[in-house]
């Protein structure tokens, strides 16, 4: 008898609670397999990332096992587990995964009870490359720590508990924020994640260097002593405690993890029930309160009429509001400051490292029209002569200078102060000005000759497929050309240092400023003529995103 033949009963059928978990697991496996079947490219990416992850995980397990017996093993393992748990909590916000089985909004029409649904989702979330990697790490961690029978008992409990906690943490955070993630604001947030990574790498790099200098791992002990008691790492820490014979501490730490897991499951379930029984988030953007009257009367009244002020205002608004532009700017500002300053703090730098800031910010002049996306048509329709194009490009350069000049001054001065080498400051300033002018010039010309589209979605895609070569030629060639253009200031700077004429270094400030302005102006003139002649070509190139 098939379902169709069954008599309709007035009582609602009991929700299928028993077999839900196996169904979800097989659904997840099927989706994974079908996803891979779709394209060979995707299959290749999957295999490569699987192999890479396995190699990394194997290396990690090996490293952790070798750590066994080391006096700092507990510290390292606890901190590592803490970082991984934190990653599980934060990453879903930045990389909303396209995981179909786990998107609860797709299950809204099914008669499912919350508890079995949560259980099934939790178990099926354990399938994937991320959980596999975490599993290897956690197993390696307990292998490094477990000694004696008690240690092994706690290890056997700690591995599944830590895994479950990581997954539940990630799911709870995602579900609580699903409205945000599905809205425009959430997508903006995802675009900004590139910035977190770029800036984070600088700090990790610095931290690692610091660790190497400052007498090794024992500096981390105080941090680890705190993290031991935080859920996520506490289960692994309990293995350490049990191996040392402090059973009371071990039990307490294990209980912290169990309590945290229960609390997370409860929170997850609550936000899921709310999510599935209230209106969806698709109308969220429309319901968002209107922006404040953003001061047409206030700000614009101060600006002069004409294209320069209009273009500057629009560009500045984009720096503040457009996630792609904002991410590029904040990354450039942060990296431009971090590299010279951290090097100065470590005593390895030179004041001339501060020129890095000018270089990073000068990069923002490249691909100006790509930053407009296909909205460039609005600009193109109002440019009818090289003069229009010149004013347009000059206004964009002004915006860059408005943010870059004070920043360069500050970075140069602070770097000089930290190193205590005030003598070299004028040289660094002059060089920065010349470099900035050269970058503006080459950036403007590259914007006209090699425009390319910037995809608006995704944090790490800054070039659409097929235009990667164009982007590289534009930036790499432009930077080489900028370095060559700045040579008339670079050479005298080196000469003054080599011949010990430090008292003449101040000449480089007006010299660099004048030279930078001249080169920048010339570059804008050349770029303006090319821009005015190539409007349709530029529009076509920037409309592929």
């Amino acid at each position: 008898m098939s379902v169709l033949d069954a008599p309709v009963t007035s009582a609602a059928p009991a929700a299928p609670t028993t077999g839900l978990t196996p169904i979800f697991v097989s659904l997840k496996l099927t989706l994974l397999r079908n996803g891979l079947r779709q394209s060979s490219g995707r299959r290749a990416v999957f295999v490569v990332s699987l192999v890479f992850t396995l190699l990394l995980a194997a290396a990690q397990v090996l490293g952790l096992v070798l750590l066994r017996g080391n006096e700092h093993a507990g510290t390292v393992v606890v901190l590592l587990t803490g970082v991984v748990a934190l990653g599980w909590a934060v990453l879903p916000l930045f990389f909303p995964s396209g995981d179909d089985t786990l998107d609860p909004t797709r299950l809204v029409m099914l008669p499912l009870r919350p508890e079995p649904l949560i259980r099934a989702l939790l178990v099926s979330s354990m399938i994937g490359i991320g959980p596999l990697f975490t599993l290897c790490l956690v197993v390696g961690s307990v292998l490094a720590l477990a000694h004696g029978a008690a240690g092994i008992v706690f290890a056997v409990l700690a591995v599944p508990l830590t895994m479950l906690l990581c997954v539940a943490l990630s799911r709870a955070v995602t579900t609580a924020n699903v409205r945000l993630l599905n809205s425009r604001k959430g997508r903006d947030l995802a675009v900004l994640s590139g910035l977190v990574i770029a800036v984070g790498i600088q700090f990790v790099n610095f931290g690692a260097q610091r660790l190497g200098q400052a007498g090794g791992l024992s500096t981390l002990d105080p941090a680890a002593d705190v993290v031991r008691w935080l859920p996520g790492a506490s289960a692994v820490a309990s293995v350490d405690a049990a191996s040392d014979g402090s059973y009371g501490v071990a039990v307490a730490q294990l209980l912290i993890t169990v309590a945290a897991l229960a609390a997370l499951m409860w929170m997850w379930q609550r936000s899921m029930v709310r999510l599935m029984t209230s209106p969806d988030g698709s109308t969220l953007a429309a319901a968002e309160p209107a922006r404040e009257e953003s001061g047409r009367g206030r700000l614009s009244a101060l600006l002069p009429e004409g294209r320069t002020a209009t273009v500057m205002q629009r560009s500045l608004r984009y720096v503040a509001r457009d996630p792609k532009t904002k991410a590029a700017w904040v990354t450039a500002l942060a990296v431009g400051a971090i590299v010279p300053l951290l090097n100065a703090v470590q005593g390895t730098g030179s004041v001339y490292f501060a020129c890095f800031a000018a270089g990073m910010l000068g990069m923002q002049m490249y691909n100006q029209f790509g930053q407009d996306t296909s909205a460039f048509w609005m600009v193109a329709l109002t440019i009818s002569s090289p003069r229009d194009a010149y004013v347009e490009l000059r206004a964009r350069a002004f915006v860059l200078l408005l943010l870059t000049l004070p920043f360069t001054l500050i970075v140069c001065a602070v770097t000089a102060a930290v190193i205590g080498d005030w003598q070299a400051l004028p040289g660094a300033l002059g060089l920065s000005f010349a470099l900035l002018g050269s970058m503006l010039a080459t950036g403007a010309v590259a914007s006209a000759l090699f425009p390319y589209s910037i995809p608006q979605e995704g944090a790490f895609k800054n070039v659409v497929p097929g235009q990667g070569g164009l982007a590289w030629i534009s930036i790499l060639g432009g930077m080489l050309a900028a370095a060559l253009l700045a040579a008339p200031v670079i050479v005298p700077t080196i000469w003054m240092h080599v011949t010990d004429r430090h008292d003449a270094l101040w000449l480089l400030v007006p010299g660099g400023l004048a030279y930078g302005a001249l080169v920048g102006w010339a570059g804008l003139r050349i770029a303006a003529r090319r821009t005015a002649a190539r409007l349709p070509e530029i529009l076509a190139a920037v409309s592929k995103g």
Binding site: R184, A285, A286, E288, A290, R291, E292, E293, S294, R296, S300, E305, G306, R307, A309, T310, V311, Q313, R314, R317, Y318, R321, D322, D372, T373, S374, A375, W377, M378, V379, A380, L381, T382, I383, S384, S385, L535, P536, E537, L539, A540, S543
Partner: protein, 279 residues
């Protein structure tokens, strides 16, 4: 860029009053031997067009007929492989200063500066076109009002619906009071209320003597709005003239259109004879 509002209300309306004689003499758009090829695909295969000034002109054709390509070339956003285009008597490619100040454009498939609010977008566009700030503000307020966007003028365009985007795009295209307005699929994806609003604004605008050229594949719409129609298919102009001329003996523009693009006699025939038969 000078504003021709005053100039036109004087001369334009007078000419219209004088039976449109002067405007008939100079077409709004004249296209000769226009070609565009993308790789192997010929998008526009040598078209000649003459669109009269002061009329509501419809450019109709099936998807892929080359309407957008043609409008892009006419407005200077796409470089033709060959051919000559004049708008209001000036060559689009050799005299952009004269042409760009006289046209308003609402393209299809291109973005707006979406991280500006509706009002900021209008202010930006008006000032780029060289209008004085106070005048831009005054016109923007009126356009936002008429187009029913006053309530969302401070919302970012990225949060606008399709209909709202079309309306703010139309407002931006009208802001400098152009002589010729080019609209690519202005009613595509627009709800009936917004469509009626857009329609009202456009009808009022053409009554002042300006020209509207718009593309569409909705025949009923073209039939009810346009005085003049050009039918395009496979990159060529199949017919052009007044609505009555193009329609000819056919009962509706739809039938005439199907006839012109060669899809007239096609029906399902015997191949689906089971459909709707005995079950």
């Amino acid at each position: 860029m000078p504003d021709r509002a005053d100039a036109r209300t004087k001369t334009g309306v007078e000419t219209d009053a004088a039976a449109g004689g002067a405007r008939e003499a100079r077409p709004a758009v004249r296209v000769q031997g226009l070609w565009k090829r993308f790789g192997d695909q010929v998008a526009v295969a040598g078209i000649d067009l003459e669109l009269p000034a002061g009329k509501f002109v419809g450019l109709v054709g099936p998807n892929g007929a080359g309407k957008t390509t043609t409008l892009s070339m006419v407005t200077g956003l796409l470089r033709p492989d060959m051919g000559k285009i004049e708008v209001a008597g000036h060559d689009v490619w050799t005299d952009p200063v004269e042409v760009k100040s006289r046209i308003g454009v609402l393209p299809e498939g291109l973005r707006l500066f979406e991280r500006l609010s509706g009002r900021e977008l209008l202010a930006y566009n008006g000032r780029l076109r060289g209008l004085p700030g106070d005048e831009v503000d005054k016109r923007a307020t009126q356009l936002l009002d008429v187009l029913d966007l006053a309530g969302s003028q401070h919302k970012l365009v990225v949060d606008y619906s399709t209909g709202m985007r079309k309306k703010i795009g139309l407002a931006a295209a009208l802001l400098h009071n152009p002589e010729v307005l080019f609209l690519d699929e202005p009613f595509e994806g627009v709800d009936p209320v917004s469509a009626q609003t857009i329609r009202g604004v456009l009808e009022r605008y053409t009554r002042s003597g300006a020209t509207v050229v718009f593309s569409s594949h909705v025949m009923e719409l073209v039939e009810s709005l346009c005085d003049w129609v050009a039918v395009m298919a496979a990159g060529r102009i199949k017919a052009q003239g007044t609505l009555a001329e193009v329609r000819g003996d056919a009962p509706s523009l739809q039938n005439a259109f199907l006839e012109l693009v060669g899809a007239g006699g096609r029906d399902a025939g015997d191949s689906l004879d089971w459909l709707g038969g005995s079950r």
